[in-house]
């Protein structure tokens, strides 16, 4: 199982952000790059790395990076 730090690195790579730009508390709405395409990339990432099927409806309820980390398991 990956640590939260490792999961955050995956998210930073996915969103093409610099190392350390995201924390557990980062509010997704505050990120310019958090858009419908990022949602699709997240579905692919969670499917590929964690073997879980993430629904669009779940993503709409995410408020912070921590919510994403929790779903990754």
């Amino acid at each position: 199982m990956l640590s939260n730090k490792e999961k955050i690195v995956l998210l930073e790579e996915m969103l093409e952000l610099e190392d350390g730009e995201l924390t557990e508390e980062t509010v997704l709405e505050d990120l310019d790059c958090w858009d419908s395409m990022a949602a699709i990339e997240l579905i692919a990432l969670v499917d590929e790395k964690f073997g879980k099927a993430l629904k669009g409806q779940q993503i709409r309820q995410f408020k912070t990076v921590e919510d994403i980390l929790d779903i990754m398991g």
Binding site: M37, I43, E48
Partner: protein, 357 residues
């Protein structure tokens, strides 16, 4: 799942047409911002699309290639026992566009003609229906016409505005002892709202034609296409690889034995993900989305024709085709195709001028 095999039916000719007019994604830089457009192109793969004029319909594109293919094959017009038009952009609410095409193509009265309202999965359905028609009676030849135009997309909706291209296809099928078409289909109607045009038919006749900002932040009218990209993506990368794997195992096929996996051209990122999940090298997944966009029901035949036109007859190809999307509806078909029966893509702006009263 619904699974089976239809025997003694083969594709004898295929052709596709697209409009001449090209719309480049970069042309939306001002509207959506260059950075957003660049991200869109990187994800979907759509650099440009061929887009019809308001006068040109899917049936015009299908007619152009069907007329040419019938001549090319030297098929007597009254030897065609059925014409099936698969589209979500018919000429009229009624009659069936298949009847209009029947007239324009000069087919005989001993002919079955009807429309099928399916999009992304429509081509694999069309093959299944055409083969079923021939298996059940005295029909020897079927014209499968599959085409769509995308005029019902809001130019201000960034989820759809740059995605869809227009095209039409014809697939000429004939009884041929020994040939086989395997099929597998699924439907999940509870996802019907994920791709929907709310107004324009009988359910919501009084919708608004005014483009306003909607709940998902995109701007469109009630007569424009709504797409929930995330839900469609989630469904596709989960259920389509599963269906293809079930298909391979049910019919005891291996990835190595298949020459091409022709997937509905929905989104490049999605296609790469599906290929990875079913263990197919991406070289075996041909693409047209880069040059033609998501051409709905036409995407599978267009991709086949784009690959095969110009190949020699010895190139008998083993193909797996998979269409998935609106419905939600998805299916997988396998068949063998003489690559040489495909005509090169036709570029035309022609339309029917006798379509009004």
């Amino acid at each position: 799942m619904s699974v089976g095999t239809l025997r003694d039916v083969k594709i004898k000719g295929m052709a596709c047409a697209v409009p001449e007019n090209i719309v480049e994604s970069a042309g939306f830089n001002e509207r959506f911002g260059a950075e957003n457009v660049e991200k869109f192109v990187k994800m979907t793969g759509v650099r440009q699309r061929h887009v019809a004029s308001p006068q040109q319909t899917a049936s015009d594109l299908c007619f152009a290639v069907a007329d040419r293919l019938l001549t090319e094959l030297e098929w007597e017009r009254d030897s065609v026992g059925a014409v099936v038009f698969v589209s979500q952009s018919p000429d009229y609410r009624l009659p069936a566009t298949a009847c209009v095409l029947h007239k324009r193509l000069g087919l005989g009265e001993n002919c079955v003609a009807f429309d099928v309202n399916l999009g992304c999965s429509g081509y694999v359905y069309g093959l299944f229906i055409a083969a079923s028609l021939m298996a059940s009676g005295d029909i020897e030849r079927v014209l499968l016409l599959a085409g769509d135009t995308s005029g019902f997309v809001s130019p201000n909706d960034r989820s759809t505005a740059m995605l869809f291209g227009d095209g039409g296809s014809v697939t000429a099928m004939e009884k041929d002892p020994g040939a086989e078409i395997h099929y597998l289909f699924y439907t999940r109607g509870d996802g019907f709202k994920n791709l929907l045009i709310p107004s324009g038919a009988c359910r919501n006749m009084d919708g608004s034609k005014i483009i306003t900002e909607r709940e998902d932040g995109n701007q469109r009218s009630d007569f424009d296409l709504y797409m929930n990209g995330a839900e469609i993506f989630s469904f596709t990368i989960t259920d389509v690889p599963l269906a293809i794997n079930q298909f391979l195992s049910h019919f005891k096929l291996t990835v190595d034995a298949i020459d091409m996996f022709v997937l509905h051209q929905a989104n490049l990122f999605m296609l790469k993900h599906i290929a990875k999940k079913i263990g197919v090298p991406f070289e075996k997944v041909p693409l047209t989305i880069d040059r033609f966009g998501n051409t709905s029901v036409t995407s599978i035949p267009l991709t086949i024709v784009d690959q095969c036109a110009g190949m020699a007859r010895k190139d008998e190809l083993k193909l797996i085709l998979s269409g998935f999307g609106v419905g939600l509806s998805w299916g997988v078909v396998s068949l063998e195709l003489d690559a040489s029966v495909c005509l090169p893509i036709i570029y035309t702006n022609e339309y029917y001028t006798d379509g009004g009263l």
